[in-house]
């Protein structure tokens, strides 16, 4: 079985981001970048499937600037076999990303494509579903468990009412949620070995996909600031505040 994992390099999840005062975006220079955490769960899932005998080859693909090589190296150190960087300095929309990945799927013909369910920068949560549509494959989003059963997968999904398990045939698209696994931190020998694994860099233009944006981002603004509150000294005061608030709601 062949597994393709798509990963994204993002502003580290724990960086307290700053919105540029001119509204042009979020400050990303001099800011720690990391692999999107959901993508890391996807890579770990691929490596675990491979370790369980379900993946002969894991190919990792990322779309972004040259420096996105570093997250591919991280994935290779975790146990992926081969990397592809689709190089572009443009900030692509999710639809364009999905179209590029669909081309990679056509070339590589993987049995399973794993992605993170969303990237923590734009919080879109689109690409897996779009890729499933473009490649006419079934999708199992927000996975918290993946089992290979016969010729298909049984995927447990995190949904509004709890969890549900779906059976899907292969080839399929699966997006990873946080409880899918605990991603490993690659140890030194694997980190060193990763550098000798194949990593091809291909310009995005080579894929013949229309990458033009469909939406216009007018501005990026900071969220409304909350004003500092007060500290109460007793449970009675707290209860009075809550009771007051509740009766104000009922009056509406």
């Amino acid at each position: 079985m062949k597994i393709l994992v798509a990963i994204k390099r993002v502003v580290d999840h724990n960086v307290r981001i700053r919105v540029r005062p001119d509204g042009s975006g979020v400050e990303t220079t001099g800011v720690r970048m990391s692999m999107n955490p959901f993508c890391k769960h996807a890579v770990e899932a691929a490596v675990q499937l491979s370790e369980a005998g379900h993946g002969d080859e894991i190919v990792v693909v990322s779309i972004g600037p040259k420096v996105a090589n570093d997250v591919i190296l991280t994935a290779l150190a975790m146990g992926a076999h081969r990397g592809i960087l689709i190089e572009t300095d443009a900030e692509l929309e999710t639809l364009a990303i999905a179209k590029l990945l669909a081309k990679v799927v056509a070339e590589e013909n993987p049995d399973i494509v794993l992605l993170g369910k969303q990237a923590v920068d734009d919080d879109s949560n689109h690409v897996g579903q779009m890729l499933a549509a473009l490649t006419n494959r079934p999708q199992a989003t927000f996975a918290s468990e993946i089992k290979v059963v016969g010729q298909g997968l049984e995927v447990t999904r995190e949904v509004d009412f709890g969890r549900e398990t779906v059976a899907i045939p292969l080839p399929a698209i699966v997006t990873a949620d946080l409880r899918l696994n605990t991603p490993r931190n690659a140890a030194l020998p694997m980190v060193m070995k990763a550098r000798s694994k194949p990593l091809s860099v291909r310009p995005a233009a080579e894929f013949g996909v229309d990458l033009a944006p469909r939406l216009t981002v007018e501005k990026i603004s900071p969220p409304a600031e909350r004003v500092a509150g007060k500290t109460v000294g007793s449970v009675a005061e707290l209860a009075a505040f809550i009771a007051n608030d509740v009766s104000a709601m009922e009056a509406l």
């Binding site: 724990n14 001099g30 931190n185 140890a187 980190v191």
Partner: protein, 471 residues
Amino acid sequence: MPLSAAETITQLTGIIGADFVIGEPQRMTSYLNEPRKRFHTGAAAIALPGSVAEVQAILRWANANGVGIIPQGGNTGLVGGQVPLRGDEVILSTARLDRIRAIDPAAGTMTAESGVILANAHTAAENAGVILPLWLASQGSARIGGVLSTNAGGVNVLAYGNARDLTMGVEAVLADGRLYQGLNSLKKDNTGYDLKNLLVGAEGTLGIITAATLKIFPQPEDYETAMVSIANLDAALELFQYLRARARRRLSAYEIIPRLGLDMQLRQGMLDRDPTPGPSPWYALIEVARLTKGASGTLMAAIEGAFSEGILENAVFAESLSDRTRMWAAREQMSEVQSKEGASIKHDVSVPIAEIPRLISEGIAAVERLVPGIRPVPFGHMGDGNIHFNFSQPVGADPKAFMAGAEPIHNAIYDIVLKLGGSVSAEHGIGQLKVDLLRQVKDPVALEMMRSIKTALDPNGILNPGKVLGF
């Protein structure tokens, strides 16, 4: 005629107002319960002055009436310096002196009042695009005045020095209420005795620091962080020297951690996962700062070099800030986890760096002879030669019986420390815990000089009575 507690409260109220004097025992507990849970004396009152002038007024009154004053910051001290010895003293909390008076990134200085919580000073520095590199496990509660008075160290001493190195000037109220205005930011000042360095590290026995001018530094653009498996402490020392030669001043942390301490944290649910590359008797937590526009990969290259030379066994690198946070948590929770594992006996000692392997191996051997089954968890700032040489009780042992046997363990450790040319208090201070020890081990001439200074500056003995030098 000493004042009664009631008179003390009344008179203090007259000075700073009733809202800022605490006299009821149940409201005093958070000021009296100290982290080691060893010292249980009461106090006459807690005073919370809101200005330097009020601190002066309190000291004038105390000096005239012979009232002992215990300066207290965040109450995080580990040697009992911030809590009373007799029970008739007044605790002077600096909590309300919490203003950052100035921050000047261009000049590289910040002037903060003594009650500023260290973490708040960090935030203020970060907001100004700089760092205040005094990082301690207790920084969320510890206040600047206490940090300076104990000449605290922490995890950044390697690159930036300890509190003393980071202090440019102090403002302090003397025992008679006079104000010493030493808030300068001069790099060079050869005009007589170095009074700043006398007050820093004096544990509040010579004056009460009310503000300090501290050094701030450009914010490193990023850090490279790794957790490295090391077979033994000789290898740990060799690796330190190897990295120091390559990363030089950018090597900002080199902390050693024993496996036992990580197992305790994992068992107690204090770590969501093991932050190491796998089982190993020892680990080093290593961090290298990357300055703006500097090259990345310094640490990775150095660690790969050391690996190929067989100095280290394995390593993992922090691939995200949450990895880095977890690695640091593993180091900073070392002390806290011990309190969840029963009774513990602790030593904060330093020796010349080259002697650390010997200190630890001889120390463990000596103590294991005394108490079979004892769990040694030495950890800390190897790069500074400073080890927190702690021991947890054997599993299942009676905590009280274990603590009753502390004295021979202390003696065994301190004997080895002194033999190796070390210090019995590296960064926590003397407080009340180590007064007798200081008398035993300190050079008699040094002790006499200290007593002369104390008598000259605090003739009535009202400042933190009984601490450091005893009564």
